[in-house]
């Protein structure tokens, strides 16, 4: 469709203040927090489901790609309009539609920001459990599309466990509701399949989410180790002893140093690695649980344990953890963050080998991650201006992900595949696996009108992949964000 005609059509649907189409206006919608970018022709801001239905009818009839976008904090390129076309920004669909405390659910529009939901319902004594680091900015729609995780997903499960029902618009404009607040809606679990499908099946316009009673008490503490080896032994031992804390995060020395220089959050620079551990529940249970974990840590070489005795100290520790991403900028202008997962018993071995990969490629790799889940975030630091550094960064990253797969893990724990890792899918899935997934996708989005060219391999040549890597840029500084 000719751009002028398209704009005229979109104006009819969204009005002048629901549409951007000048190249300079749509520029900020060409990227997310990943490495790719591509310019859309137009960005629309629906304020109701009806408008989206009309748009998707138009799109299907004219084969115009449509890419849904939440806050654009995704790290795998999911919100990028790789085929151009229209970006649907969900920013105006952000109302809390319903809060039913007795039945422990809420109904929200997808543009609702994660943290604002918990804040808004906080007076009821309940909260929305998924807490991705980006929760101050990222949206429920983006969270459910990517099945986001967060530190407390160790105990409470990832986003998918908390989504009960959806309203979604399909290509062609049909509006479908799936799932329900009441349990076990008959039939196939459409809701469960849609969550985590990275926005490639339809555009979600409403979500029914589970809310949970807030714990009465929390205990947060740091265990200090000589090195990541000992700290990961402790993680394996804690899980091996059958203890699932509310959160169990690891930071290595480099990360600690950066965080302390930037934020003075109370992390001990003398430690080679720390575990940030949180347990919650009834206050009577915390001492015993904390005691058991501390003992395991000491048995595995922790030389000190520091408890956050005040709410202020606790907030500071978490702020340090959250601010780590911003602090990385102090060491190198660029970093490439990975998101592999390994069985928790393999953590000591894998961390050692990641260290070796860093040495082999002469790259600095920092580690801060969701240790309790085995969800690694090795962070390769570099300066993209140094000639010849990019191929090393890419190869080292691939080697790390390969290692995760080799020990029985996977290539993404929470950030998604998107465009970033689509060519790696064949490391873990056979042609049959992917063909089956695609078949189901075709039921929803057969012509790839919505969010095309994502998740599955495109059989791009290596040349094209490295071309994409040239677009690599520094992550915008995000204070108070952790990964």
């Amino acid at each position: 469709m000719d751009k002028q005609v398209l704009v005229a059509e979109l104006l009819k649907i969204f009005g002048p203040d629901g549409l951007l189409y000048a190249p300079e206006d749509v520029l900020v919608y060409e990227y997310d927090f990943s490495l790719d970018k591509n310019l859309p022709e137009a960005v629309v801001f629906p304020s109701n489901t009806g408008q989206l239905a009309v748009l998707l009818k138009l799109a299907a009839e004219n084969n115009i790609p449509v890419t849904p976008r939440g806050a654009g904090t995704g790290l795998s390129g999911g919100a990028i309009a790789v085929r151009g076309g229209i970006v649907v920004a969900m920013a105006r669909l952000k109302k809390l539609m319903k809060l039913d405390v007795a039945n422990r659910y809420a109904v929200v529009q997808p543009g609702h920001v994660n943290l604002e939901l918990s804040t808004e319902i906080s007076p009821s004594g309940y909260f929305f459990a998924p807490d991705p680091a980006s929760q101050k900015a990222s949206t429920i729609g983006g969270n459910l599309a990517l099945n986001a995780g967060g530190p407390h997903c160790l105990a409470y499960g990832t986003t998918t466990n908390h989504i009960l029902g959806l309203e979604m618009v399909l290509p062609g404009g049909e509006v479908v509701r799936t799932g329900s607040a009441a349990p076990d809606r008959p039939g196939y679990d459409l809701t469960g399949f849609i969550v985590g499908s990275e926005g490639t099946l339809g555009i979600v316009t409403e979500a029914t989410v589970k809310i949970m009673k807030k714990p009465e008490a929390v205990s947060t503490f740091l265990a200090l180790f000589e090195d990541v080896g000992a700290a990961s032994d402790a993680v394996s031992a804690i899980i091996g002893a059958g203890i699932v804390p509310a959160a169990l995060e690891m930071m290595d020395q480099l990360t600690i140093r950066m965080v302390e220089e930037a934020l003075q959050a109370g992390y001990p620079p003398e430690a080679g690695a720390v575990l940030l551990i949180e347990v919650d529940g009834l206050k009577e249970s915390l001492d015993e649980l904390t005691g058991t974990i501390v003992k395991i840590c000491r048995d595995n070489g922790a030389f000190d344990v520091k408890s956050a005795t005040t709410e202020e100290a606790r907030t500071k520790l978490w702020a340090g953890r959250k601010g780590a991403a911003g602090a990385f900028g102090r060491v190198a202008p660029n970093f490439y963050l990975h998101d592999g997962v390994v069985p928790r018993s393999k953590l000591p071995e894998v961390l050692r080998r990641i260290g070796e990969i860093g040495v082999e490629y002469d790259l600095v790799i920092a580690n801060l991650f969701h240790a309790g889940d085995g969800n690694l975030h090795p962070n390769i630091m570099f300066d993209a201006r140094v000639p010849g550094v990019m191929p090393r960064v890419i190869e080292a990253g691939e080697k790390i992900l390969h290692l995760c797969v080799e020990v029985g893990g996977t290539i993404s724990g929470e950030h998604g595949i998107g465009t970033e890792k689509q060519e790696y899918m064949s490391w873990i899935f056979t042609e049959e696996d992917m063909a089956t997934m695609r078949k189901v996708k075709d039921v929803f989005n057969p012509a790839e009108i919505i969010n095309p060219w994502k998740v599955f391999p495109t059989k791009k040549s290596c040349g094209e992949i490295s071309l994409k890597m040239r677009l690599l840029k520094a992550l915008p500084n995000m204070d108070e964000a952790w990964i």
Partner: protein, 447 residues
């Protein structure tokens, strides 16, 4: 249509004699909706299962998958049946890594065996199913999306399934997920296969995450004169932060069925925790009982005693319902439990059914069993209760009905689903099992 003799020769060619049963008594023992299959196949590997399925699929033969066979009858009447494929020879625990809180199992592993194996390491899988003692399998439990009282604490079975391997009707062997607890690579095929009742493919292997067994548990039994008070206390226990792990309200019949005293309404609560916290939970709940003017609570502390009671609660409804019996799974919002109890009993009184009802008041699933003399009235009962539940946003699944009644009910899952949802579900079936080889007619709306 292929002759039975040829069929048998062909099946022998695929999996040999170990993989095949054709004795009439054996065939009759696995009959579904009054139809005996022509053969039973028992693959021992995914490849063998694929070969059987591919064969059936290309010859227009219809296959029903069977786990423990405890509840193979769930679903709409089967349109046709040629072959029953059982998972009994795929019954290995493929990988158990206690240190990773992870287990991999083949579909035919019996839930009771798995439970015993995990307990050796002080761990458990929060997948509950009626029929545990009768030989229900993990594949059957996942294929029928079972749950029980402890869903309140642990969520539905799907929250624990982290990887699945399956065989499609055309013999394609594929998988989703993996064996790590966090994994967003690829689509969530685990969710796709849960609750499919063998209509999308054979689930042959699954990976689960596990939990440590709770340190200590206490069970409280509180008697009430009316449903409202029992259900009200249940919700209050959640809202005041006593964090119960299970909350079940039983009517008179259900209480008797699980061996509790004859009371109008009984509330069972379970709490699990470390010693001091447990004491506090019990104290707080006792306080709530006082406030509500309820006697008791009676406490069960012995772990065996508690275990036996909850096992009976979970297995409620799995009784040999002789003759004119029905079993319904009812889904409502949690705060509708009391209304359900009242409504169901009023209906039953009017239509002369004898019913027992057990409601997991914390999460909204209830089980109702009933017996009747007059089929017309039973039909009316099912229909009226179904439309009542659907009006309130819930649903009824008539999981067990005598065939004559089943054929009259229409859809055993009622009419809760919208055309939009059904279109997607039919689309999924058409993509993964286009010949309708697997359980034709079994699923919602005759899928």
């Amino acid at each position: 249509m292929i002759e039975t003799d040829n069929l048998i020769q062909d099946l022998l060619g695929i999996g040999g004699e170990d993989g095949l049963s054709t004795g009439q008594a054996q065939l009759d023992a696995v009959a579904l909706d009054g139809q005996s299959p022509r053969a039973i196949v028992r693959p021992s590997t995914a490849e063998e299962a694929a070969a059987y399925l591919k064969y059936a699929n290309s010859h227009g033969l219809k296959v029903a998958i069977r786990g423990g066979g405890v509840h193979s009858g769930i679903g709409n009447p089967l349109e046709w049946l040629d072959i029953v494929l059982t998972t009994e020879r795929m019954a290995a625990i493929t990988e158990y890594s206690p240190a990773d809180l992870m287990v991999g199992v083949q579909a035919g592993v019996k839930l009771s065996d798995l439970k015993a194996e995990l307990a050796k390491n002080g761990q458990f899988l929060p997948v509950e199913a009626a029929g545990l003692l009768q030989g229900a399998t993990i594949g059957g439990a996942i294929a029928s999306n079972t749950s029980g009282p402890f869903r309140l604490a642990y969520g539905p079975a799907r929250d624990w399934l982290i990887g699945v391997k399956f065989v499609l009707a055309d013999g394609t062997i594929a998988k989703g997920g993996g064996k790590v607890v966090k994994n967003v690579a690829g689509f969530d095929m685990m969710k796709l296969f849960i609750g499919t009742l063998g209509t999308l493919g054979l689930i042959y292997e699954m990976n689960f995450k596990l939990l440590p067994l709770p340190p200590l548990t206490s069970t409280l039994v509180v008697a009430f004169d009316d449903y409202q008070a029992a259900c009200g206390l249940a919700l209050k226990a959640i809202d005041t932060g006593t964090f119960p792990s299970a909350l079940t309200v039983l009517d008179r019949g259900a209480a008797l069925a699980v061996g509790l005293p004859d009371r109008t309404a009984t509330l069972l609560l379970e709490v699990r925790n470390t010693a001091q916290a447990l004491e506090r939970q019990v104290r707080d709940i006792t306080g709530l009982c006082r406030e509500a003017g309820a006697a008791g609570p009676d406490m069960l502390d012995g772990s065996q005693e508690q275990h036996d009671l909850w096992q009976k609660v979970t297995g409620f409804g799995y009784r040999e319902l002789s003759g004119q019996g029905l079993a319904l799974k009812v889904s409502t919002l949690p705060d509708q439990s009391a209304a359900l109890l009242t409504q169901a009993h009023a209906l039953a009184d009017r239509l002369s059914l004898r019913i027992s009802l057990l409601s997991h008041a914390g999460h909204g699933l209830s089980w109702l069993t009933g017996s009747y003399e007059d089929e017309d009235k039973a039909l009316e009962f099912v229909r009226e209760l179904t439309s009542w539940a659907e009006r309130l946003g819930g649903s009824v699944a008539a999981e067990r009905l005598p065939l004559a009644l089943k054929q009259r009910v229409g859809d055993v899952w009622g009419t809760a689903l919208s055309e939009g949802e059904l279109k997607l579900m039919r689309g999924i079936k058409a993509k993964l099992d286009p010949e309708r080889t697997l359980g034709p007619g079994r699923f919602v709306a005759g899928i």
